[in-house]
């Protein structure tokens, strides 16, 4: 037993939209951490983007004080990101806890992320408290959810029924946290070991690290060392979130809080790293640290070439707060100067893109994302490429390796057929099928990451009427019979449009991209051929017919204004186009490769 029997560290895990954020709000309210009138809806999701998208991107931690029958308890609620792109971050947040509320929508039941999160939580030996949420919904079926809980190895009798929206069951949840989540183990007298489970950049204090102290004590003014990077700092601020940052003199074993130490970039205080003291520090770091590895790469180019410097500055700024974002200068024949950026996944890419456009007001051209391929050349050379254009076909390729994921798909049994069909189309390797409940099937597949990056999730949703869910994690690399498809516009190759695909699908996907380009590229004054080719051999061809007519026939009752405005709008639209040779191409053309699903 540790020093602090009044402490409980717990998190909330859930499938997206099962009501995690609303439940967190209610817990804050019920413990008086925030008055109802102070609540901005869903306090824990503090970025605008998070609130709009209803997902939690960055983890947060809040200290709650709760008086139960046994006295006053301090509860640390550690929020976790809710998207598969951020599964490593989830695992570090879980490592900072002893218990987890597993929130399940009373109408939807167990979903893929429910399971993925549950398994992660069980790996970290957390006490699981199932919460059946949204019992106020007319379609709620708590009995069915209890049956599913039993199927996945949880005791249905221990599940708490709640409606975060209406505030029912909140007291029972808080009591369960106190009674069932064990107090933290750990010894304050041993050398300091604190886990960084999140960090963010603060303009005044530098990087603020969110930590869970496992052993020892951390104090303001102390000299500390980050064990993965080896860098030493002096703690300038130490505190807890209530949820406003509140300074404290010391955090001891079991406690959760934050510190700042003049660290300049989030990258230097990596999630999962161990904090110890410079004097008499720990010998071994905590287990489980992994450097952030970008899985998806895309070219980001400023629409306005003169904004290149601005884009670099913005990316540097974003990187202060985003340790997983990487970027390197890149040049494209079609797009000029830009950056090849690495992301954890597509959502991460979209978030970065939106922040660049929204917060930094930079208009971007984003090329279709690509995974990392390992190319083995006949001359014995091996290269890892993040950009399809970098593949040197002339050098003689022996083989290409591509990343795979282990995916879990859950769907109603009636949709097993369509799900398997989709996985097969995407070159999936079937592993297992299980039935957590009579009406639901859980399929395990190994799939190439490049195949699920694009519209896989959309396809899955549409083929199962929205009922299927997906979770995955990286599972190594494998050889693939892959080729690069090049796109030629008016006879000129556009490097930013090249993509790598399985041999068997080169032609159909090349045709799909040609068709898409024909739709999005406006007609020019001359015919523009679009071709898709592999190694100089043309696989598909489309033609954008020359523009013949754009004049408006009539000027109605002297309304010149409307006509001129139309024309001005057209001209404005053209300014946002890229000129490739003689052809004017809108930005969305570069994303055409994304929508190549046949």
């Amino acid at each position: 037993m540790g020093d602090r029997t009044d402490l409980r560290n717990f998190c909330i895990i859930a499938h997206i939209d099962h009501g995690k954020s609303t439940l967190a709000d209610r817990l804050l309210e019920a413990t008086g951490t925030l008055q109802a009138r102070e609540m901005q809806s869903q306090v824990l999701d503090s970025m605008d983007l998070e609130r709009e998208r209803g997902i939690t991107i960055k983890a947060q931690a809040v200290r709650l004080e709760y008086r139960s029958q046994d006295g006053l308890h301090v509860l640390n609620l550690i929020d976790t990101p809710g998207h598969v792109d951020f599964s490593y971050e989830v695992s570090r947040s879980l490592a900072a806890c002893e218990g987890a509320l597993l929130v399940i929508d009373a109408a939807q039941g167990v979903e893929a992320q429910t399971l993925a999160n549950l398994y992660l939580a069980l790996e970290h030996d957390l006490e699981i408290i199932p919460v059946i949420n949204k019992i106020d919904l007319p379609q709620a079926d708590p009995q069915r959810v209890r049956a599913e809980l039993e199927q996945i190895g949880l005791d249905p009798a221990l599940a708490i029924e709640a409606s975060a929206k209406e505030g029912t069951g909140i007291g029972a949840i808080l009591d369960a946290v106190v009674e069932r989540v064990p107090p933290p183990r750990g010894d304050s007298e041993r050398p300091l070991k604190a886990l960084i489970f999140d960090s963010h950049f603060d303009a005044y204090r530098g990087v603020v690290c969110h930590i869970r102290v496992v052993d020892g004590r951390i104090r303001a003014g102390q000299r500390i060392r980050l064990m993965a990077t080896g860098a030493a700092y002096e703690v300038s601020d130490l505190g807890v979130f209530r949820p406003q940052p509140t300074a404290v003199a010391e955090l001891a074993a079991g406690e959760v809080g934050y510190f700042a130490a003049g660290i300049k970039v989030v990258r230097d205080a990596r999630v999962g790293d161990t904090v110890t003291t410079v004097e008499g520090g720990a010998q071994e770091p905590l287990a489980g640290y992994r450097p952030a590895v970008p899985m998806v790469f895309a070219g980001l180019y400023p629409s306005e070439p003169s904004h290149y410097g601005l884009l670099r500055e913005a990316l540097e700024r974003l990187q202060l707060n985003d340790g997983a974002l990487s970027f390197e200068p890149e040049t494209s024949g079609a797009l000029g100067f830009g950056f090849r950026c690495g992301f954890l996944g597509l959502l991460h890419l979209e978030i970065v893109q939106e922040r660049l456009e929204r917060e930094y007001d930079i208009d971007l051209v984003v090329t279709a994302p690509s995974v990392v391929y390992t190319i083995h050349y006949h001359d014995g050379g091996v290269e890892r490429i993040e950009n399809p254009a970098a593949l040197d076909a002339g050098r003689g390729i022996e083989r290409v390796e591509e990343p795979y994921v282990a995916a879990t798909l859950i769907a109603p049994t009636s949709f097993v057929g369509p799900v398997m069909e989709l996985c097969q189309e995407r070159r999936g390797v079937f592993r297992t099928i299980e039935y957590p409940s009579p009406e639901r099937a859980m399929l395990a597949y190994e799939l190439p990451l490049g195949e699920i990056m694009y519209d896989f999730f959309d396809q899955l949703k549409s083929r199962t009427h929205g009922y299927a869910s997906l979770d995955y994690q990286l599972a190594g690399e494998r050889d693939g019979d892959l080729v690069r498809v090049d796109l030629l516009l008016n006879g000129e190759m556009v490097d930013a449009l090249s993509f790598i695909v399985h041999q068997s699908r080169a032609q159909s996907q090349g045709r799909a991209v040609c068709e898409k380009l024909r739709e999005v590229i406006p007609r020019q004054l001359f015919d523009v051929p679009i071709q898709a080719a592999v190694g100089g051999k043309v696989l598909a061809r489309e033609t954008i017919r020359a523009l013949r007519k754009d004049v408006l026939a009539k000027c109605y009752g002297g309304d010149i204004t409307r006509k001129r405005k139309l024309l001005e709008k057209q001209k404005e639209g053209k300014k946002r186009m890229r000129r490739l040779g003689q052809v004017e191409v809108p930005q969305e053309a570069f994303m055409a490769v994304l929508r190549r699903g046949e």
């Binding site: 013949r548 408006l552 002297g558 001129r564 024309l567």
Partner: protein, 381 residues
Amino acid sequence: MSDGVGVYLHMPYCPYKCHYCDFNAYRLPPRPGTLEAMAAGIVEEIARAPGDDRGRQARSIYFGGGTPSLFPPRAIAAILEALRRRYRVVPRAEVTLECNPGTVDVALLQELSRAGVTRLSIGAQSFDAAMLRRLGRGHAPEDTRLAVRAARQAGFDNLNIDVIYGLPGTTAAEAERDAREALALGPEHLSAYALEVEDGTYFGALRARGTLPLPSDDEVVEAGEAVARACLQHGLERYEISNFARPGRRSRHNLLYWHQGDYRGFGPGAHSHMSGRRSWNVAGPGPYLKAVGAQGEACAGEETLSPDGRRGEWIYLRLRLTEGFSLRAFSLRFGVPLDAAYPGVRRQLVRQGLLEALPGRVRPTAAGRWLLHRVAEPFLP
């Protein structure tokens, strides 16, 4: 242009709404007195609306709509009377009134002629009975022929016929046939407009549902050229992208628009232009009448063009004309040679085959006429 001014009168009611129509036109409500009340409102606006156009010379007057021929001739006479009090209407002013086949007879047209109307514009649109039904027009081809005959009997020697080409399911052959039917009636002027389908119309809804078989742009251009050839054979010259006339019979009022001249609009939603200031009235008949009753005018908005904007618009409008404009006219008007104001632009457009390579004159080529937005774009601010 001279110090003359054109007058546009918007007569917003129709007996029915055509399927392609997105004009500011309303089905005539069955309430008696609606037309009289509207005419009285327009008379009041003419009498009371402020503006330094008062006392200027009016050289053209145009009753558009809607269906102006629905209005009783005495209402038209009262409006013309009001205009004569506001302006110095020149003795040989062009006074056009739009009418729809099936709404006119000889007696009515004689009354309009006595009231001062000198020119009629007859909305034929098509001479195919099935197509007229498909367009939602409430008349047959024969009504158009009767209307033209009635107009001649009533003494009108200046007639325009409107036709539309690029109609659903048609080719250049149908367009040419319609044009020839119209030309066979011997009009002095023909307006041929390519169908434009707008959102918010019945046709717009059909298009959205994918059930409107519109011809391609290429086919529309072919149809337009077929109409132009037919006109030329009948001695009507194309002087604007959509307008054809016998020598000396070009529409003075339409030319005013393309010459960026001054015109004043009265009635719901009517537009005005006075030396670079464009303004427009409240569109709805009810709100219009209320505004006129309360303030004597119904202005809903206005914009004043920047010098650059005005210059670009002048070029854009002139380029709609077959003759284009002379470099001299441009530099006289704007105090700067065209090639100095837009370095390299003319040369580029000539190279692209959109402008004729002529000394001293800027004129769209046959291809450029259909790509006017492309041609005009570099001249806009």
